[in-house]
């Protein structure tokens, strides 16, 4: 036989092997899935983070594990190596096939996952978004669990800054990148908030961007201190940025009570990770930072997922779910809002007094 004819034969054989596989067995149509008996009491909840190996989501996983122990469901985490918008699709498909009861997902895209999520929901799998919701496409998931109300984040940060600087003086904002949606939403919120007469004596003098890079954030913070010698405060609503600001005021010695501080010094506040900010908070370089506890989000998302799977909780505008208290936070009845969003509460304040407790792990 010639090589060509062997190839032709091989191709034919391969097609012969695949073709029957592609045909639908008679009678299977429509009956798919009905053979699976619903496994009561052994729910399988899967968490799909934006990407694997991300410390923020690894912290969230701890909450899932705790809930899994308490409520007795099977839990696993799976997800893409990179946080690309469509990278989560194959993992969702695989989990449908693996028979998940509920999928909790930090969505990488607000709309590219719609079709795949619909497939999962058609098979009776509950879809819960956590941390990053499908803004504008909420009908493609059952429930969204968010740490705090991002709409009021700007007001919250301005009020906190106001308390520290006695509602008087100049302050600046150090953000992440110029195109980060949450950052821009919060900056707009802060700019709107200071128009309130209550903050009439507070002056926002600058908005700078550290690109969520350590070195750039530090340099930008140093530049702020040089440019505005009478600065009273910096708000950095990013964990990388707030750390950079803390280092800048520390090195310049202008933190409240520092050796070069003029008057009350420069107070840095913002969103910070307890463990990373532990020393700066303890040493009084930074008065306080805020963040939601990712583990708490994980706990609550899985708690809601289990209740939904059991049929004891159906998300709807105005529905409530009772969540047991966590070691550090009181929970109780939580109300589901518009678009089936469940907001956990206010961000947690980390300060000199409590940071050890939160950074403990």
């Amino acid at each position: 036989m010639t090589r060509k004819s062997i190839f032709a034969l091989a191709a034919l054989a391969a097609f012969g092997a695949i073709a029957p596989l592609g045909c639908k067995p008679a009678g299977k149509e429509g009956a798919a899935g009905s053979g699976d008996t619903p496994k009561t009491g052994s729910s399988r909840i899967v968490f799909i983070p934006k990407n694997m190996g991300n410390p923020y989501f690894e912290a969230m996983e701890k909450g899932f594990q705790q809930a899994s122990k308490e409520l007795g469901f099977e839990f696993s985490t799976t997800g893409p190596a990179v946080a690309e918008p469509t990278a989560q699709i194959s993992y969702i498909k695989d989990e449908i096939q693996r028979g998940a009861t509920a999928i909790v997902i930090a969505a990488n895209s607000v709309d590219a996952l719609n079709g795949t999520l619909d497939e999962a929901r058609a098979k009776g799998i509950k879809i819960i978004t956590v941390d990053s919701d499908l803004t504008g496409n909420e009908t493609h998931r059952d429930l969204g669990v968010l740490a705090c109300d991002f709409d009021t984040m700007g007001d919250f940060l301005i009020e906190q800054m106001g308390i520290i600087m006695n509602y008087e003086g100049k302050f600046a904002i150090l953000s992440a990148t110029t195109d980060a949606p949450n950052q821009n939403k919060w900056i707009k919120g802060m700019q709107a908030a200071i128009k309130n007469p209550k903050y009439a004596k507070m002056q926002l003098v600058d908005v700078v961007y550290g690109d969520d890079k350590d070195q750039k954030s530090l340099t930008e913070a140093e530049a702020l201190l040089t440019k505005h010698p009478d600065l009273k405060g910096i708000i950095a609503p990013t964990t990388v940025g707030v750390y950079g600001c803390a280092k800048a005021v520390e090195q310049a010695g202008v933190y409240p009570g520092g050796k070069n501080a003029k008057g009350a010094g420069v107070s840095v506040i913002g969103l910070g990770v307890a463990k990373q900010m532990q020393r700066h908070l303890k040493d009084g370089i930074v008065p306080k930072v805020f963040l939601w506890d990712p583990a708490e989000q994980g706990y609550i998302a899985s708690y809601a997922a289990v209740r939904m799977a059991e049929g004891k909780f159906t998300p709807a505008d105005g529905a409530t779910i009772n969540i047991p208290d966590l070691p550090l936070t009181k929970m109780g009845d939580k109300k589901v809002g518009k678009n089936n969003v469940l907001i956990i509460g206010e961000p947690v304040e980390y300060n000199k007094g409590n940071v050890d407790k939160y950074a403990g792990e």
Binding site: F7, E84, S90, K93, Q97, S109, D111, A112
Partner: protein, 317 residues
């Protein structure tokens, strides 16, 4: 015996053997793998890469590379949906406009490589950033919807089977591509170009024209791929298919094509695409972590390239 197999088959036999092994292993390890409905549904994720891999096979055989294909894919999607939503282009016209726009963008690559005498690696590295950038300028961080009537082509199946439209399309295009590559003068010219560009030019082969045609073809494939992806995802975004170019090149090289040009087959590329799909699906349904999956694909590539080079040398190519 081994030497006889080696002399009978090309390097693509490595991908064929690995595919069979991977399929058998996955089926053996994980019973949920052997489910036709699931396998065919999961395969919808690989069809765009498959179409890009067909044209990439030609480009690589010619001794070149096109890193910009996925950026073309994203830009074509951005342009088409913008035309429909802002300038009233009838949705169905997208099917024609997409490959044309893709071809035009590809032709730009071809002109720069051919007339500008620039290495394709450099040219397409630049246009990869350029096209992606323009797509982002057009769409920003938002997405534009694919017109409703064009959404969900991957859900349409041949009656009575699980074969979906994109798979049928890929199969037809693969047969055409194989015919052109292995049975036409043009196909032999492309191979000659990759074997020795200088010699090909002296032999009177219009190498400059072929280069422009090759990159245009690559752009057209990206245009078709764009329509499939938009139909599957329902939206156009600037970051669609980002990083997929590496998967496409992986499939071509895994399929036995030489990255230095002059050697490669369509059968090999399609088999390798199937191999990557089966390995990823098998690991995915068995719950293997993403980082392990990435490492396994890397390992597979090294093993396969080593073996193909070995068989190719034995066959004296």
């Amino acid at each position: 015996m081994i030497s006889r197999i080696r002399s009978r088959f090309g390097p693509e036999i490595v991908a064929v053997v690995l595919l069979l092994l991977a399929f058998g292993f996955s089926a053996f390890r994980e019973p949920r793998f052997l489910d036709a409905e699931y396998l065919f549904d999961r395969s919808t994720l690989y069809m765009e890469a498959g179409i890009l891999a067909l044209s990439m096979t030609f480009v690589i055989i010619a001794g070149h590379i096109d890193l910009s294909v996925t950026s073309i894919l994203a830009l074509v999607g951005a342009i088409c949906t913008t035309l429909v939503s802002k300038y009233g282009l009838p949705p169905v016209a997208m099917i024609i406009v997409a490959p044309v726009v893709g071809g035009a963008l590809g032709a730009l690559n071809g002109l720069l490589v051919s007339k500008g005498k620039l290495p394709s690696l450099v040219v397409t590295l630049a246009t990869m950033a350029l096209f992606r950038g323009v797509a982002q300028i057009l769409l920003g961080d938002h997405s534009l919807p694919m017109p409703k009537e064009l959404v969900g082509i991957h859900k349409i199946q041949l009656p009575g089977t699980y074969f979906h439209v994109p798979m049928v399309l890929l199969a037809i295009l693969a047969v055409i591509a194989a015919g052109v590559l292995h049975r036409t003068v043009w196909g032999r010219w492309v191979t000659a170009l990759g074997t020795n560009a200088e010699a090909a030019r002296h032999a009177g082969i219009p190498t400059g024209k072929i280069l422009i045609q090759l990159f245009t073809l690559s752009g057209v494939a990206a245009g078709i791929g764009s329509m499939l992806m938009l139909s599957r995802l329902g939206v156009a975004r600037f970051d669609h298919a980002r990083g997929l170019e590496l998967d496409v090149i992986t499939a071509v090289v895994l399929g036995g094509a030489s990255i230095f040009g002059g050697r490669g087959t369509i059968v090999g590329t399609i088999t390798a695409l199937g191999l990557v799909g089966v390995v990823q699906t098998g690991m995915g349904v068995a719950g293997v972590k993403a980082e392990v999956q990435v490492a396994v694909i890397g390992l597979l590539l090294i093993v396969s390239v080593l073996f193909s080079n070995f068989t190719a040398r034995k066959r004296g190519r």
